[in-house]
């Protein structure tokens, strides 16, 4: 117990240094900051406008009104942003595999996956977080939820779970490159699928697809089930903390399985050169 607490402190200490270095790197390239502050908010503001247009043309989407959709969209963008900060490197894992960049992580006395994500922590993900939070607050107002302490705790737990689910999926996809030995960037496709399935109510899709998205690739837990529970939309889900904890549990499970898949891939790692 004391030993694992000590290990935790060690990791937190290193993380602090990594974040400090990430900020220093960001400041080294001011033109990049400007670029990302335009690019990422633009994407989500346009994306949100399009949802509004669709609602105007088609009315409610599967019984979800505009306020509820804004709430769903906002929560989805926030977990997307968090996954961009901590896990986006998973999209580019193939390049690290081919270039032999895991050498460095393997010769240091910390977890390889931890080092992979945190030495490359993407502070620019904050530019996704800002529009996400704005839309989410707007959605809270429009959908008429009461923001209580319990509500905030639920949202935070759900967001951690949702971020883990996204991160786990990126790790899964990235780890395939240990086996294929090719650098494939499925990032754009992944995001497109995620957008379609987390920014609109999943109930609009056929039952078979809902089944897959609930049990096999649990994207449904990224935003649909949490939001249904928070807004009291009937899906047979109980309100309160239960859904929040299920979301977190699903996130941890996905992360655990992804980590195991990553570790099995790492055994096949071939470095570069030779």
């Amino acid at each position: 117990m004391r030993k694992s607490f000590d290990t935790l402190l060690h990791y937190l200490d290193v993380t602090g240094q990594e974040i400090k270095m990430a900020f220093m790197t960001m400041i080294e390239y001011p033109s990049n900051i400007a670029g990302w502050f335009i690019s990422n908010p633009l994407q989500f503001i346009m994306g949100f406008a399009i949802i509004k247009f669709v609602v105007e043309s088609f009315g409610e989407i599967n019984g979800w009104n505009y306020g509820q959709l804004a709430f769903l969209y906002g929560l989805s963008v926030i977990s997307h942003a968090l996954s961009m900060i901590f896990f986006v490197q998973g999209w580019f894992m193939g390049w690290f595999v081919i270039e032999g960049d895991f050498d460095r992580y393997l010769t240091r006395p910390l977890g390889v996956l931890y080092q992979f994500f945190f030495t490359n922590i993407n502070i620019f993900g904050i530019t996704d977080l800002i529009p996400g939070v704005i839309v989410f607050i707007y959605g809270c107002a429009k959908s008429g939820v009461t923001v209580s302490f319990l509500f905030i705790v639920q949202v935070i737990i759900m967001l951690i779970g949702a971020t883990f689910i996204r991160g786990g999926i990126y790790i899964f996809l990235g780890s395939t490159s240990f086996h294929t030995r090719s650098a494939v960037d499925f990032g754009q496709y992944t995001q497109e699928i995620m957008d379609k399935t987390t920014m609109y109510p999943m109930s609009m899709y056929p039952e078979s697809m809902q089944f897959i998205l609930t049990y096999l690739i649990p994207i449904g837990w990224v935003s649909f089930y949490p939001v249904s529970s928070l807004l009291g939309i009937d899906n047979g889900l109980s309100g309160g903390m239960t859904t929040a904890f299920i979301t977190l549990a699903v996130g941890l499970l996905v992360m655990f399985l992804a980590g195991a898949f990553f570790n099995s891939g790492l055994k096949k790692y071939e470095s570069a050169g030779n």
Partner: protein
């Protein structure tokens, strides 16, 4: 010309060797296409026609949009960016071949490979799993072919112009993302702009993006009458001219700048 054909051929072979990418891309694109098809089916529940388009045409629109997206993959912006970043741009431009011509040939080569590797499988899967995407009026075929060629060129020129911005800022990744989002959301590739409010769609009709995806797709599903299509093809052509002029202007400026400063 011969050397460009050689580059195209080399690029086709290069693209053919990444087998995992091929299968991975097909799987991902299939998931996206099927999700989109269900998405429209759900939106159309209880409605037969919205803005003059029925659900069947919308399904065709999705399948053809997925197939068309294969023709609109460019790498020129990243090639320029990395050439500038690595500082090899001056020596690259000294080569006895036009640098941008080379990038165009590479992109064409990749696309030819992708037609077989991605586009045909996608069309086949779409036909089997969603519906047979029949063209509304086969007599519009010449118009369709011309508009697709022009949309490829417009898309390529926009990519090249965004890539050239690497000469102004050091890192052009963010700009490439801006371009990607503009095309993704404003070209009608995912949601046609006729579903947008009238004022918004008017503004977007004046921009080049809708002439990349939406125009050829509209011709395919037969949205609007022929006079409207011809009118839109004229605007598409005007954009092609404007972007070409911008491209050649930017190219000459950059060449001069590189020759003077050595990158």
């Amino acid at each position: 010309m011969k050397k460009y054909l050689y580059i195209i051929k080399t690029q086709i072979i290069k693209s053919m060797t990444y087998e995992f990418n091929v299968y991975g891309n097909i799987i991902m694109q299939t998931i996206i296409m099927i999700t989109s098809a269900y998405f429209w089916r759900a939106l159309y529940t209880g409605r037969s026609v919205v803005d003059g388009v029925d659900v069947g045409s919308m399904q065709t629109y999705i399948i053809i949009s997925s197939a068309l997206s294969v023709l609109l993959i460019t790498n020129v912006e990243r090639r320029i960016g990395s050439s500038v970043e690595k500082g090899s741009v001056a020596t690259d431009m000294m080569k006895p071949i036009n640098l941008f011509g080379m990038f165009l040939a590479e992109d064409i080569g990749s696309i030819i490979a992708l037609i077989f590797q991605n586009m045909l499988p996608i069309l086949l899967i779409g036909s089997l799993m969603i519906k047979l995407p029949v063209m509304a009026d086969i007599r519009d075929l010449p118009m369709l072919v011309i508009s697709v060629i022009e949309s490829f060129l417009i898309n390529w020129l926009i990519a090249a112009l965004f890539g050239m911005m690497a000469f102004t800022t050091i890192n052009n990744n963010a700009l490439i993302q801006v371009k990607k989002h503009l095309i993704r959301l404003l070209s009608g590739s995912i949601i046609p702009i006729w579903f947008f409010p009238k004022s918004v769609s008017k503004v977007l009709s004046a921009l080049p993006f809708v002439y990349i995806y939406q125009l050829p797709l509209s011709i395919y599903i037969g949205k609007g009458d022929r006079t409207e299509m011809i009118f839109q093809m004229r605007i598409q052509f005007i954009w092609l001219v404007i972007l070409s002029a911008l491209f050649f202007y930017a190219q000459s400026r950059i060449t001069r700048k590189v020759m003077v400063q050595g990158g």
